[in-house]
Protein backbone atom coordinates (compact mmCIF):
# COMPACT_ATOMS: atom_id res chain seq x y z
CA UNK A 1 0.00 0.00 0.00
CA UNK A 2 2.83 2.29 0.89
CA UNK A 3 4.43 1.54 -2.46
CA UNK A 4 1.21 2.07 -4.29
CA UNK A 5 0.87 5.61 -2.95
CA UNK A 6 4.50 6.25 -3.73
CA UNK A 7 4.00 4.96 -7.26
CA UNK A 8 0.99 7.19 -7.76
CA UNK A 9 3.00 10.23 -6.78
CA UNK A 10 5.84 9.23 -9.05
CA UNK A 11 3.49 8.69 -11.97
CA UNK A 12 2.02 12.14 -11.49
CA UNK A 13 5.45 13.75 -11.37
CA UNK A 14 6.67 11.74 -14.35
CA UNK A 15 3.65 12.56 -16.44
CA UNK A 16 3.82 16.23 -15.53
CA UNK A 17 7.33 16.27 -16.91
CA UNK A 18 6.26 14.48 -20.06
CA UNK A 19 3.17 16.61 -20.60
CA UNK A 20 5.37 19.66 -20.92
CA UNK A 21 6.05 18.29 -24.38
CA UNK A 22 2.58 17.04 -25.09
CA UNK A 23 3.07 17.05 -28.83
CA UNK A 24 6.03 14.70 -28.55
CA UNK A 25 4.04 12.52 -26.17
CA UNK A 26 1.18 12.27 -28.61
CA UNK A 27 3.55 11.41 -31.43
CA UNK A 28 5.20 8.73 -29.34
CA UNK A 29 1.87 7.10 -28.58
CA UNK A 30 0.79 7.36 -32.20
CA UNK A 31 4.04 5.94 -33.53
CA UNK A 32 3.83 3.01 -31.13
CA UNK A 33 0.23 2.34 -32.04
CA UNK A 34 1.12 2.22 -35.71
CA UNK A 35 4.17 0.07 -35.10
CA UNK A 36 2.13 -2.54 -33.29
CA UNK A 37 -0.86 -2.10 -35.60
CA UNK A 38 1.32 -2.83 -38.62
CA UNK A 39 2.51 -6.02 -36.98
CA UNK A 40 -1.08 -7.16 -36.64
CA UNK A 41 -1.79 -6.03 -40.19
CA UNK A 42 1.11 -8.13 -41.43
CA UNK A 43 -0.22 -11.05 -39.46
CA UNK A 44 -3.55 -10.53 -41.16
CA UNK A 45 -1.91 -10.40 -44.57
CA UNK A 46 -0.05 -13.66 -44.00
CA UNK A 47 -3.16 -15.45 -42.76
CA UNK A 48 -5.22 -13.97 -45.54
CA UNK A 49 -3.45 -16.44 -47.82
CA UNK A 50 -2.90 -19.32 -45.45
CA UNK A 51 -5.44 -20.85 -43.12
CA UNK A 52 -3.28 -22.77 -40.68
CA UNK A 53 0.27 -23.15 -39.46
CA UNK A 54 1.46 -26.40 -37.90
CA UNK A 55 -2.14 -27.39 -37.32
CA UNK A 56 -3.04 -24.16 -35.57
CA UNK A 57 -5.75 -22.01 -37.06
CA UNK A 58 -5.15 -18.29 -37.39
CA UNK A 59 -7.33 -17.44 -34.39
CA UNK A 60 -5.58 -20.01 -32.26
CA UNK A 61 -2.21 -18.50 -33.15
CA UNK A 62 -3.59 -15.02 -32.50
CA UNK A 63 -4.92 -16.10 -29.12
CA UNK A 64 -1.57 -17.66 -28.28
CA UNK A 65 0.58 -14.71 -29.09
CA UNK A 66 -1.73 -12.08 -27.65
CA UNK A 67 -1.69 -14.07 -24.40
CA UNK A 68 2.06 -13.82 -24.44
CA UNK A 69 1.99 -10.16 -25.48
CA UNK A 70 -0.41 -9.28 -22.67
CA UNK A 71 2.02 -10.61 -20.09
CA UNK A 72 4.89 -8.98 -21.95
CA UNK A 73 3.29 -5.52 -22.08
CA UNK A 74 2.52 -5.61 -18.37
CA UNK A 75 5.99 -6.76 -17.58
CA UNK A 76 7.64 -4.12 -19.76
CA UNK A 77 5.44 -1.52 -18.20
CA UNK A 78 7.36 -1.94 -14.97
CA UNK A 79 10.72 -3.43 -15.79
CA UNK A 80 11.77 -2.67 -19.33
CA UNK A 81 12.88 0.91 -19.00
CA UNK A 82 14.79 0.62 -15.68
CA UNK A 83 16.60 -2.48 -16.85
CA UNK A 84 17.43 -0.95 -20.21
CA UNK A 85 19.01 1.98 -18.40
CA UNK A 86 21.00 -0.20 -16.02
CA UNK A 87 24.00 -0.31 -18.35
CA UNK A 88 24.08 3.46 -18.49
CA UNK A 89 23.58 3.82 -14.73
CA UNK A 90 26.43 1.48 -13.94
CA UNK A 91 28.69 3.03 -16.57
CA UNK A 92 28.21 6.57 -15.30
CA UNK A 93 28.01 5.63 -11.63
CA UNK A 94 24.58 7.22 -11.35
CA UNK A 95 23.34 4.13 -9.57
CA UNK A 96 24.89 5.67 -6.43
CA UNK A 97 21.94 8.02 -6.33
CA UNK A 98 19.52 5.13 -6.02
CA UNK A 99 21.52 3.47 -3.28
CA UNK A 100 21.06 6.41 -0.97
CA UNK A 101 17.27 6.49 -1.18
CA UNK A 102 15.04 5.38 1.72
CA UNK A 103 13.53 2.62 -0.45
CA UNK A 104 15.45 -0.24 -2.03
CA UNK A 105 17.18 0.64 -5.31
CA UNK A 106 15.19 -1.91 -7.29
CA UNK A 107 11.84 -0.71 -5.98
CA UNK A 108 12.84 2.86 -6.58
CA UNK A 109 13.97 2.20 -10.15
CA UNK A 110 10.70 0.49 -10.95
CA UNK A 111 8.41 2.97 -9.24
CA UNK A 112 9.94 6.17 -10.53
CA UNK A 113 8.93 5.63 -14.16
CA UNK A 114 5.78 5.09 -16.13
CA UNK A 115 6.22 3.51 -19.54
CA UNK A 116 3.13 4.76 -21.28
CA UNK A 117 4.76 3.81 -24.62
CA UNK A 118 3.68 0.23 -23.92
CA UNK A 119 0.04 1.26 -23.58
CA UNK A 120 -0.73 0.96 -27.31
CA UNK A 121 0.77 -2.52 -27.33
CA UNK A 122 -1.30 -3.44 -24.32
CA UNK A 123 -4.54 -2.07 -25.73
CA UNK A 124 -4.08 -3.66 -29.13
CA UNK A 125 -3.17 -6.95 -27.50
CA UNK A 126 -6.27 -6.83 -25.35
CA UNK A 127 -8.38 -6.01 -28.38
CA UNK A 128 -7.09 -8.86 -30.54
CA UNK A 129 -7.05 -11.16 -27.55
CA UNK A 130 -10.75 -10.57 -27.07
CA UNK A 131 -11.36 -10.86 -30.79
CA UNK A 132 -9.60 -14.20 -31.08
CA UNK A 133 -11.35 -15.49 -27.99
CA UNK A 134 -14.71 -14.58 -29.45
CA UNK A 135 -13.87 -16.47 -32.63
CA UNK A 136 -12.57 -19.51 -30.80
CA UNK A 137 -15.53 -20.15 -28.50
CA UNK A 138 -13.42 -21.65 -25.75
CA UNK A 139 -15.42 -23.55 -23.19
CA UNK A 140 -14.33 -21.73 -20.04
CA UNK A 141 -14.78 -24.09 -17.14
CA UNK A 142 -13.69 -23.03 -13.68
CA UNK A 143 -10.50 -25.10 -13.84
CA UNK A 144 -9.57 -23.65 -17.19
CA UNK A 145 -10.02 -20.08 -16.00
CA UNK A 146 -7.83 -20.74 -12.98
CA UNK A 147 -5.25 -22.52 -15.11
CA UNK A 148 -5.20 -19.68 -17.62
CA UNK A 149 -4.87 -17.01 -14.95
CA UNK A 150 -2.00 -18.82 -13.27
CA UNK A 151 -0.27 -19.28 -16.63
CA UNK A 152 -0.72 -15.64 -17.47
CA UNK A 153 0.81 -14.62 -14.17
CA UNK A 154 3.64 -17.10 -14.69
CA UNK A 155 4.24 -15.58 -18.11
CA UNK A 156 4.43 -12.16 -16.50
CA UNK A 157 7.02 -13.44 -14.02
CA UNK A 158 9.05 -15.16 -16.75
CA UNK A 159 9.21 -12.05 -18.92
CA UNK A 160 10.06 -9.88 -15.94
CA UNK A 161 12.77 -12.25 -14.75
CA UNK A 162 14.43 -12.33 -18.15
CA UNK A 163 14.34 -8.55 -18.29
CA UNK A 164 15.80 -8.24 -14.80
CA UNK A 165 18.51 -10.77 -15.63
CA UNK A 166 19.56 -8.80 -18.71
CA UNK A 167 19.62 -5.68 -16.55
CA UNK A 168 21.61 -7.35 -13.78
CA UNK A 169 24.15 -8.56 -16.31
CA UNK A 170 25.28 -4.97 -16.74
CA UNK A 171 26.90 -5.15 -13.30
CA UNK A 172 29.50 -7.39 -14.93
CA UNK A 173 29.67 -6.36 -18.57
CA UNK A 174 29.18 -2.72 -19.15
CA UNK A 175 27.37 -3.17 -22.43
CA UNK A 176 24.18 -5.14 -21.95
CA UNK A 177 22.21 -3.34 -24.64
CA UNK A 178 23.18 -5.88 -27.24
CA UNK A 179 21.80 -8.74 -25.19
CA UNK A 180 18.58 -6.82 -24.65
CA UNK A 181 18.27 -6.12 -28.35
CA UNK A 182 19.05 -9.73 -29.24
CA UNK A 183 16.17 -10.87 -27.07
CA UNK A 184 13.50 -8.24 -27.49
CA UNK A 185 14.18 -6.30 -30.70
CA UNK A 186 10.85 -5.79 -32.44
CA UNK A 187 12.06 -7.32 -35.68
CA UNK A 188 15.04 -9.53 -34.96
CA UNK A 189 14.62 -10.42 -31.31
CA UNK A 190 14.38 -13.96 -30.02
CA UNK A 191 11.02 -13.09 -28.49
CA UNK A 192 9.46 -13.00 -31.95
CA UNK A 193 9.96 -16.76 -32.18
CA UNK A 194 7.14 -17.15 -29.67
CA UNK A 195 4.54 -15.55 -31.88
CA UNK A 196 4.18 -18.84 -33.72
CA UNK A 197 3.70 -22.44 -32.55
CA UNK A 198 6.93 -23.99 -31.33
CA UNK A 199 6.90 -27.16 -33.49
CA UNK A 200 7.69 -25.16 -36.63
CA UNK A 201 11.29 -24.77 -35.45
CA UNK A 202 14.07 -27.32 -35.29
CA UNK A 203 14.78 -29.28 -32.11
CA UNK A 204 17.71 -27.08 -31.10
CA UNK A 205 15.73 -23.88 -31.19
CA UNK A 206 12.87 -25.56 -29.34
CA UNK A 207 15.22 -26.53 -26.55
CA UNK A 208 16.64 -23.00 -26.36
CA UNK A 209 13.16 -21.50 -26.14
CA UNK A 210 12.10 -24.05 -23.53
CA UNK A 211 15.06 -24.17 -21.19
CA UNK A 212 17.61 -21.46 -21.95
CA UNK A 213 15.30 -18.52 -22.59
CA UNK A 214 11.92 -20.00 -21.62
CA UNK A 215 9.75 -17.78 -23.80
CA UNK A 216 7.79 -20.83 -24.92
CA UNK A 217 6.20 -21.03 -21.47
CA UNK A 218 4.67 -17.60 -21.85
CA UNK A 219 2.34 -18.58 -24.65
CA UNK A 220 2.81 -21.79 -26.55
CA UNK A 221 2.85 -24.49 -23.86
CA UNK A 222 -0.04 -23.29 -21.68
CA UNK A 223 -2.24 -22.31 -24.61
CA UNK A 224 -1.56 -25.65 -26.30
CA UNK A 225 -2.94 -27.34 -23.21
CA UNK A 226 -5.89 -25.00 -23.00
CA UNK A 227 -6.87 -25.56 -26.61
CA UNK A 228 -6.08 -29.25 -26.44
CA UNK A 229 -3.33 -29.04 -29.01
CA UNK A 230 -0.06 -30.64 -28.03
CA UNK A 231 0.29 -34.39 -27.81
CA UNK A 232 3.60 -35.13 -26.18
CA UNK A 233 4.14 -31.78 -24.56
CA UNK A 234 0.79 -31.41 -22.83
CA UNK A 235 2.36 -31.82 -19.39
CA UNK A 236 4.76 -29.00 -20.27
CA UNK A 237 1.87 -26.57 -20.14
CA UNK A 238 1.52 -27.13 -16.41
CA UNK A 239 5.17 -26.40 -15.82
CA UNK A 240 4.89 -22.63 -16.38
CA UNK A 241 4.66 -21.75 -12.66
CA UNK A 242 7.71 -23.88 -11.89
CA UNK A 243 9.72 -22.28 -14.67
CA UNK A 244 8.54 -18.87 -13.49
CA UNK A 245 9.67 -19.66 -9.95
CA UNK A 246 13.09 -20.84 -11.08
CA UNK A 247 13.59 -17.82 -13.30
CA UNK A 248 12.39 -15.44 -10.65
CA UNK A 249 14.86 -17.01 -8.24
CA UNK A 250 17.73 -16.64 -10.68
CA UNK A 251 16.80 -13.03 -11.40
CA UNK A 252 16.57 -12.22 -7.70
CA UNK A 253 19.87 -13.89 -6.91
CA UNK A 254 21.69 -12.30 -9.81
CA UNK A 255 20.40 -8.87 -8.90
CA UNK A 256 21.49 -9.24 -5.26
CA UNK A 257 24.87 -10.55 -6.31
CA UNK A 258 25.37 -7.75 -8.80
CA UNK A 259 24.34 -5.08 -6.38
CA UNK A 260 26.80 -6.37 -3.81
CA UNK A 261 29.51 -6.41 -6.43
CA UNK A 262 28.78 -2.90 -7.61
CA UNK A 263 31.62 -0.54 -6.90
CA UNK A 264 30.81 2.91 -8.10
CA UNK A 265 32.78 4.28 -11.00
CA UNK A 266 33.35 7.32 -8.83
CA UNK A 267 32.05 10.75 -9.51
Amino acid sequence: MKYFRLYLRFVIVYMKGKLEYHFALLLELLANTILIGVYFAGFGVIFNQFETIAGWSKYEVLFMFTTSWLAYSFSCFFFWSPMRDMGELVRTGKLDLYLTRPVGPFVYLVLQQFQYTFLPRLFLSVFFWGYSMKKLQINWTKERVIFYCISLFAAFVIFSSITVITGAVSFWTVKSEEIVSLLTNNTYGLKNFCDYPLPIYGKGVQIVLTFAVPYAFTGYYPVAVLLGKGGADSYMGHLSPVIALVNGGIAYGLWRLGLRRYGSTGA
Binding site: I34, G42, V45, Y188, F193
Partner: protein, 282 residues
Protein backbone atom coordinates in the same frame (compact mmCIF):
# COMPACT_ATOMS: atom_id res chain seq x y z
CA UNK B 1 37.02 12.78 -54.81
CA UNK B 2 39.87 12.06 -52.44
CA UNK B 3 38.04 13.56 -49.49
CA UNK B 4 34.98 11.42 -50.10
CA UNK B 5 37.11 8.31 -50.14
CA UNK B 6 38.49 9.43 -46.78
CA UNK B 7 34.97 9.75 -45.47
CA UNK B 8 34.27 6.29 -46.71
CA UNK B 9 37.11 4.92 -44.64
CA UNK B 10 35.82 6.88 -41.65
CA UNK B 11 32.46 5.18 -42.18
CA UNK B 12 34.18 1.81 -42.20
CA UNK B 13 36.14 2.59 -39.06
CA UNK B 14 33.00 3.78 -37.28
CA UNK B 15 31.47 0.37 -37.87
CA UNK B 16 34.52 -1.51 -36.74
CA UNK B 17 34.95 0.31 -33.43
CA UNK B 18 32.59 -2.11 -31.73
CA UNK B 19 33.32 -5.53 -33.21
CA UNK B 20 30.95 -7.00 -30.64
CA UNK B 21 28.08 -5.06 -32.17
CA UNK B 22 28.96 -6.32 -35.63
CA UNK B 23 28.86 -9.94 -34.48
CA UNK B 24 25.69 -9.41 -32.52
CA UNK B 25 24.22 -7.95 -35.70
CA UNK B 26 25.22 -10.96 -37.74
CA UNK B 27 23.89 -13.32 -35.10
CA UNK B 28 20.52 -11.60 -34.96
CA UNK B 29 20.30 -11.74 -38.76
CA UNK B 30 20.97 -15.45 -38.75
CA UNK B 31 18.27 -15.90 -36.14
CA UNK B 32 15.84 -13.80 -38.13
CA UNK B 33 16.57 -15.64 -41.35
CA UNK B 34 15.93 -18.91 -39.57
CA UNK B 35 12.69 -17.58 -38.07
CA UNK B 36 11.39 -16.38 -41.42
CA UNK B 37 12.32 -19.60 -43.13
CA UNK B 38 10.59 -21.72 -40.50
CA UNK B 39 7.41 -19.67 -40.58
CA UNK B 40 7.03 -19.77 -44.33
CA UNK B 41 7.99 -23.39 -44.61
CA UNK B 42 5.38 -24.28 -41.99
CA UNK B 43 2.75 -22.18 -43.72
CA UNK B 44 3.33 -24.00 -46.98
CA UNK B 45 3.54 -27.45 -45.46
CA UNK B 46 -0.01 -27.14 -44.14
CA UNK B 47 -1.51 -26.45 -47.53
CA UNK B 48 0.33 -27.93 -50.44
CA UNK B 49 -2.23 -26.88 -53.00
CA UNK B 50 -1.78 -23.18 -53.61
CA UNK B 51 -2.04 -22.41 -57.27
CA UNK B 52 -1.56 -18.67 -56.82
CA UNK B 53 1.63 -18.83 -54.80
CA UNK B 54 4.71 -20.78 -55.64
CA UNK B 55 6.35 -22.38 -52.62
CA UNK B 56 9.93 -22.40 -53.87
CA UNK B 57 9.73 -18.86 -55.18
CA UNK B 58 8.38 -17.60 -51.88
CA UNK B 59 11.02 -19.36 -49.80
CA UNK B 60 13.73 -18.06 -52.11
CA UNK B 61 12.28 -14.61 -51.89
CA UNK B 62 12.22 -14.67 -48.07
CA UNK B 63 15.84 -15.82 -47.84
CA UNK B 64 17.18 -13.34 -50.38
CA UNK B 65 15.14 -10.47 -48.94
CA UNK B 66 16.65 -11.08 -45.52
CA UNK B 67 20.14 -11.25 -46.95
CA UNK B 68 19.59 -8.08 -48.99
CA UNK B 69 18.33 -6.29 -45.88
CA UNK B 70 21.84 -6.47 -44.42
CA UNK B 71 23.15 -4.10 -47.06
CA UNK B 72 20.09 -1.90 -47.39
CA UNK B 73 19.87 -0.76 -43.79
CA UNK B 74 20.73 2.88 -43.45
CA UNK B 75 21.22 4.95 -40.32
CA UNK B 76 21.55 8.29 -42.09
CA UNK B 77 18.32 9.51 -40.49
CA UNK B 78 19.71 9.20 -36.97
CA UNK B 79 22.95 10.88 -37.99
CA UNK B 80 21.25 13.93 -39.46
CA UNK B 81 18.92 14.07 -36.50
CA UNK B 82 21.75 14.09 -34.00
CA UNK B 83 23.53 16.83 -35.92
CA UNK B 84 20.52 19.07 -36.33
CA UNK B 85 19.55 18.64 -32.69
CA UNK B 86 23.00 19.31 -31.31
CA UNK B 87 23.67 22.13 -33.74
CA UNK B 88 26.82 20.44 -35.00
CA UNK B 89 25.40 20.72 -38.46
CA UNK B 90 26.59 24.35 -38.49
CA UNK B 91 30.17 23.11 -38.51
CA UNK B 92 29.41 20.59 -41.21
CA UNK B 93 27.94 23.31 -43.37
CA UNK B 94 31.08 25.46 -43.28
CA UNK B 95 33.25 22.61 -44.49
CA UNK B 96 34.33 22.70 -48.11
CA UNK B 97 32.55 19.46 -48.80
CA UNK B 98 28.99 18.58 -49.72
CA UNK B 99 27.09 17.52 -46.62
CA UNK B 100 24.84 15.03 -48.37
CA UNK B 101 27.69 13.62 -50.41
CA UNK B 102 29.70 13.19 -47.27
CA UNK B 103 26.83 11.31 -45.67
CA UNK B 104 26.57 9.12 -48.71
CA UNK B 105 30.30 8.38 -48.70
CA UNK B 106 30.14 7.35 -45.06
CA UNK B 107 27.10 5.24 -45.71
CA UNK B 108 28.95 3.44 -48.49
CA UNK B 109 31.85 2.74 -46.13
CA UNK B 110 29.39 1.52 -43.56
CA UNK B 111 27.79 -0.81 -46.08
CA UNK B 112 31.14 -2.17 -47.22
CA UNK B 113 31.82 -3.39 -43.69
CA UNK B 114 28.34 -4.88 -43.36
CA UNK B 115 28.78 -6.63 -46.67
CA UNK B 116 31.95 -8.34 -45.51
CA UNK B 117 30.83 -9.08 -41.95
CA UNK B 118 27.16 -9.83 -42.51
CA UNK B 119 26.11 -10.38 -46.10
CA UNK B 120 28.93 -12.67 -47.17
CA UNK B 121 28.76 -14.94 -44.12
CA UNK B 122 24.99 -15.19 -44.56
CA UNK B 123 25.31 -16.12 -48.22
CA UNK B 124 27.97 -18.73 -47.42
CA UNK B 125 25.92 -20.07 -44.52
CA UNK B 126 22.71 -20.47 -46.49
CA UNK B 127 24.43 -22.03 -49.48
CA UNK B 128 26.45 -24.45 -47.37
CA UNK B 129 23.57 -25.55 -45.16
CA UNK B 130 21.36 -26.10 -48.17
CA UNK B 131 23.95 -28.20 -49.93
CA UNK B 132 25.08 -30.01 -46.83
CA UNK B 133 21.73 -31.02 -45.46
CA UNK B 134 20.71 -32.48 -48.76
CA UNK B 135 23.82 -34.19 -50.04
CA UNK B 136 24.02 -37.26 -47.82
CA UNK B 137 21.22 -36.82 -45.38
CA UNK B 138 23.62 -35.35 -42.89
CA UNK B 139 21.52 -33.15 -40.65
CA UNK B 140 22.61 -30.82 -37.95
CA UNK B 141 20.01 -31.08 -35.20
CA UNK B 142 19.27 -27.40 -35.02
CA UNK B 143 19.28 -26.96 -38.76
CA UNK B 144 17.13 -29.87 -39.76
CA UNK B 145 14.42 -27.51 -40.87
CA UNK B 146 16.69 -26.36 -43.65
CA UNK B 147 16.63 -29.70 -45.32
CA UNK B 148 13.24 -28.85 -46.72
CA UNK B 149 14.88 -26.32 -48.96
CA UNK B 150 17.45 -28.63 -50.46
CA UNK B 151 18.00 -28.85 -54.12
CA UNK B 152 16.68 -25.33 -54.27
CA UNK B 153 18.72 -22.88 -56.22
CA UNK B 154 18.77 -19.60 -54.39
CA UNK B 155 18.84 -17.25 -57.32
CA UNK B 156 18.06 -17.06 -61.00
CA UNK B 157 21.62 -16.93 -62.25
CA UNK B 158 20.77 -15.62 -65.71
CA UNK B 159 19.01 -12.63 -64.18
CA UNK B 160 21.84 -11.86 -61.79
CA UNK B 161 23.10 -8.91 -63.83
CA UNK B 162 19.71 -7.21 -63.84
CA UNK B 163 19.32 -8.05 -60.17
CA UNK B 164 22.55 -6.33 -59.26
CA UNK B 165 21.65 -3.27 -61.31
CA UNK B 166 18.32 -3.18 -59.51
CA UNK B 167 20.06 -3.55 -56.15
CA UNK B 168 22.20 -0.51 -56.88
CA UNK B 169 19.12 1.53 -57.70
CA UNK B 170 17.39 0.25 -54.56
CA UNK B 171 20.42 1.23 -52.52
CA UNK B 172 20.17 4.78 -53.85
CA UNK B 173 16.43 4.94 -53.18
CA UNK B 174 16.90 3.69 -49.64
CA UNK B 175 19.57 6.32 -49.00
CA UNK B 176 17.45 9.15 -50.37
CA UNK B 177 14.46 7.94 -48.37
CA UNK B 178 16.47 8.00 -45.14
CA UNK B 179 17.93 11.36 -46.08
CA UNK B 180 14.50 12.88 -46.63
CA UNK B 181 13.20 11.68 -43.26
CA UNK B 182 16.37 12.95 -41.65
CA UNK B 183 15.96 16.35 -43.23
CA UNK B 184 12.46 16.62 -41.79
CA UNK B 185 14.28 17.34 -38.54
CA UNK B 186 14.72 20.93 -39.82
CA UNK B 187 11.03 21.32 -39.09
CA UNK B 188 10.25 18.71 -36.48
CA UNK B 189 13.51 18.69 -34.48
CA UNK B 190 12.61 15.23 -33.18
CA UNK B 191 11.97 12.77 -35.96
CA UNK B 192 12.16 9.42 -34.25
CA UNK B 193 8.38 9.01 -34.02
CA UNK B 194 8.11 9.80 -37.73
CA UNK B 195 10.96 7.45 -38.36
CA UNK B 196 9.31 4.74 -36.31
CA UNK B 197 6.01 5.26 -38.03
CA UNK B 198 7.46 5.22 -41.52
CA UNK B 199 9.72 2.36 -40.52
CA UNK B 200 6.70 0.27 -39.61
CA UNK B 201 4.84 1.09 -42.82
CA UNK B 202 8.01 0.53 -44.76
CA UNK B 203 8.56 -2.86 -43.19
CA UNK B 204 5.15 -4.03 -44.29
CA UNK B 205 4.99 -2.44 -47.74
CA UNK B 206 8.57 -2.80 -48.96
CA UNK B 207 8.29 -6.56 -49.06
CA UNK B 208 11.20 -7.28 -46.73
CA UNK B 209 8.89 -9.17 -44.40
CA UNK B 210 6.05 -10.48 -46.56
CA UNK B 211 6.30 -10.86 -50.35
CA UNK B 212 4.14 -8.15 -51.92
CA UNK B 213 2.55 -10.68 -54.25
CA UNK B 214 0.73 -12.13 -51.24
CA UNK B 215 -0.96 -8.85 -50.41
CA UNK B 216 -4.71 -8.56 -50.73
CA UNK B 217 -5.76 -7.01 -54.04
CA UNK B 218 -6.47 -3.53 -52.71
CA UNK B 219 -3.28 -3.20 -50.69
CA UNK B 220 -1.28 -4.51 -53.64
CA UNK B 221 -2.76 -1.90 -55.93
CA UNK B 222 -2.15 0.95 -53.51
CA UNK B 223 1.39 -0.23 -53.02
CA UNK B 224 2.08 -0.06 -56.75
CA UNK B 225 1.96 3.72 -56.47
CA UNK B 226 4.25 3.95 -53.46
CA UNK B 227 8.05 3.97 -53.45
CA UNK B 228 8.49 1.30 -50.77
CA UNK B 229 8.44 -1.73 -53.02
CA UNK B 230 11.28 -0.30 -55.10
CA UNK B 231 13.71 -1.08 -52.29
CA UNK B 232 13.02 -4.77 -51.65
CA UNK B 233 10.19 -6.20 -53.68
CA UNK B 234 11.60 -5.24 -57.09
CA UNK B 235 15.27 -6.25 -56.76
CA UNK B 236 14.51 -9.37 -54.76
CA UNK B 237 11.93 -10.65 -57.20
CA UNK B 238 14.30 -10.01 -60.09
CA UNK B 239 16.91 -12.06 -58.25
CA UNK B 240 14.61 -14.93 -57.36
CA UNK B 241 11.76 -15.18 -59.83
CA UNK B 242 12.05 -15.90 -63.51
CA UNK B 243 10.63 -13.05 -65.51
CA UNK B 244 10.37 -11.81 -69.05
CA UNK B 245 13.00 -9.26 -70.03
CA UNK B 246 10.31 -6.70 -70.69
CA UNK B 247 8.91 -7.00 -67.17
CA UNK B 248 12.41 -6.63 -65.72
CA UNK B 249 13.01 -3.45 -67.66
CA UNK B 250 9.66 -2.12 -66.57
CA UNK B 251 10.52 -2.75 -62.92
CA UNK B 252 13.94 -1.19 -63.27
CA UNK B 253 12.48 1.91 -64.90
CA UNK B 254 10.00 2.26 -62.03
CA UNK B 255 12.99 2.32 -59.72
CA UNK B 256 14.72 4.94 -61.86
CA UNK B 257 11.66 7.15 -61.78
CA UNK B 258 11.52 6.92 -58.00
CA UNK B 259 15.22 7.66 -57.75
CA UNK B 260 14.74 10.86 -59.73
CA UNK B 261 11.63 11.92 -57.82
CA UNK B 262 13.20 11.31 -54.42
CA UNK B 263 16.39 13.03 -55.47
CA UNK B 264 14.47 16.09 -56.54
CA UNK B 265 12.47 16.10 -53.35
CA UNK B 266 15.54 15.78 -51.17
CA UNK B 267 17.14 18.73 -52.98
CA UNK B 268 14.02 20.77 -52.41
CA UNK B 269 13.86 19.92 -48.70
CA UNK B 270 17.53 20.71 -48.34
CA UNK B 271 17.20 24.15 -49.96
CA UNK B 272 14.13 25.15 -47.96
CA UNK B 273 15.18 23.45 -44.75
CA UNK B 274 18.58 25.08 -44.56
CA UNK B 275 16.92 28.45 -44.29
CA UNK B 276 14.80 27.23 -41.41
CA UNK B 277 17.84 26.11 -39.48
CA UNK B 278 18.41 27.89 -36.21
CA UNK B 279 21.47 26.95 -34.24
CA UNK B 280 21.37 28.17 -30.69
CA UNK B 281 24.63 29.25 -29.11
CA UNK B 282 27.89 28.13 -30.66
Amino acid sequence: MRKYVDHMTIGMKEQLVYPGAVWAGLFSKVLYLYLQFCIWKALFSDCLEKPTINRTDTLRYIIIATIVSTIMECNVTEKINAQIQSGNIAIELIRPIGFKRMLFARHVGDTAVKMICCTLPLIVLTTVTMQWCGADGLRLPFLQEWSAGTGMQLMCIDQLGYGILSLFLAYGIQFLYSLIIGLLAFWLIVTWPVNMFLGAVYRLLSGVWIPVTLFPELLYRINLWLPFRAVYAIPVSILTTEMKRKVIWQSVSVQMVWLVILYGFSLFLWRVGRKKLVVQGG
